[in-house]
């Protein structure tokens, strides 16, 4: 069954697959995780704030994002980002936005909803005495968040945040629907050009599998270490 397969096509396209495709995927994953974490933390703080209105806006945003499929969100932002850009820059017509920027905005906005739930759990896991002690010491709300609560919340939630980042790494493959050459997109381009679907998709699957396995093994190790320290 493997007789008419040509695995050399993989070797020939390695530079394209990794230098173009995988670097796009990793860059998108890394920047989306960072942006998602920053916005997610802000949303979590809004949700936990004593202003009811802020809380319900954040809650609505999170519930809304989490009930939509990522593919639909990717399409939404693909068409919406040019208009947002026009609105932000005051240009007279929708601005042109590159594939990378468009997908970066999508993933940051989408992942922020998921990261915010993790950060919210992390903030809630800090005992009440800590912010109370902080305000007794005269720290403002911002200072107490910055120096007391968030560092601990982040630390406690690190394994979950990293696991979510692995999920994000896998989810970035969905930019395929916009024909963007991320790792899977690049593999699929070569596959269709050379008529080598079987070899290329098997290889892509193996690469995603290997990276995710190693990463989740690392997370498990980290989790064990954190568990011992505490």
């Amino acid at each position: 069954m493997f007789d008419n397969l040509d695995f050399d096509v993989i070797r020939r396209s390695l530079p394209y697959l990794f230098l173009d495709g995988m670097s796009f995927t990793l860059m998108l994953t890394g920047l989306s995780a960072l942006g998602g974490l920053v916005f997610g933390t802000l949303i979590a703080l809004m949700r936990l704030s004593s202003y009811r209105l802020l809380g319900s806006i954040a809650g609505l945003y999170v519930d809304f994002m989490r009930s939509l499929p990522l593919v639909l969100v990717i399409f939404w932002f693909y068409f919406l980002v040019p208009y947002i850009g026009q609105w932000l820059t005051g240009a007279s017509r929708p601005i042109r936005v590159g594939a990378f920027t468009s997908s970066l905005v999508t993933f940051i906005m989408f992942e922020a909803a998921y990261f915010s739930e993790i950060m919210r759990a992390g903030i809630q896991s800090i005992s009440k005495g800590q912010p109370a002690a902080a305000s007794a010491l005269g720290l403002t709300y911002a200072q107490s968040m910055r120096y007391i609560v968030l560092p601990q919340a982040f630390r406690n939630m690190l394994p979950v945040l990293l696991t979510q980042t692995i999920v994000l790494f896998q989810d970035t493959s969905l930019v395929y629907v916009l024909s963007i050459p991320d790792f899977l997109g690049a593999a699929s381009k070569v596959a269709q050009r050379d008529g080598r679907l079987v070899e290329m998709y098997l290889f892509a699957a193996a690469v995603y599998f290997a990276i995710s396995c190693v990463a989740s093994y690392g997370v498990r190790r980290l989790q064990a270490r954190i568990a011992i320290v505490r």
Binding site: M1, F64, S67, L68, P69, L70, V71, L72, F75, W76, F79, L80, Y83, Q86, W87, R93, Q170, D171, S173, L174, Y176, V177, L184, S188, L197, V198, Y201, L202, A204, A205, Y208, F209, S212, C213, S216
Partner: protein, 243 residues
Amino acid sequence: MNYNWNWHIFFEPNPTGAGTYLDMLVSGLLLTIKTALLAWVIALIFGTIIGILRSLPSKTASWIGFAYVEFFRNMPLLVQLFLWFFVLPELLPRAAGLWMKQLPNAPFWTAAIGVGLFMSARVAVQLAAGIASLPRGQKQAATALGLTTGQGYRYVLLPIAFRIILPPLTSEFLNTIKNTSVAITIGLIELTGQARAMQEFSFQVFEAFTAATVMYLAINIVVVTGMRFLERSLAIPGYIAGK
């Protein structure tokens, strides 16, 4: 925003000649529900088997469970669908591969099975955790009463474990519904696919996506309400979910 809104577009005939644009979206919605339900049945069946394997004391059984879960969890769903759709028919004996390629509705079956197996790994993890959360006495009591392992699972462990994991299962079911949209890449024209098609035919991007969004939100509300009802009706008074 200089965009020409046209909310009447839903009632204009679509270019396929069969009804309005709204009919197009509704048929996508129905296909999404159909695919998700079949995928969910598959996920529950395989997830239960693997979840039980993971909870057994046998080393081999829990290793099989572990390998299964790792296999399906460490590849993007999109890649898995490609493997089922493009790769598997080529690797099978010629006759079987040909039969698979010529199946009517191949994207539908591939999507349901692919999403189902993908989600089964997640169901398995939840179920194994649910079984592990039961007090040890439950299993021991089952053995003491003379139940075999199978009977112990069937009558003692599983009924309680499933009640415990009902809330996370609800969100896994919602994930199943959302994940069917990935099948747009293998040519399944479900709700997201129909919204995309409507956008391509009519150029009314935001109306099409808004309608799809509203439909997904509606599905969510229905499922969450339904599951809450189910949770309440299955709750055992005075025990775990019955509190």
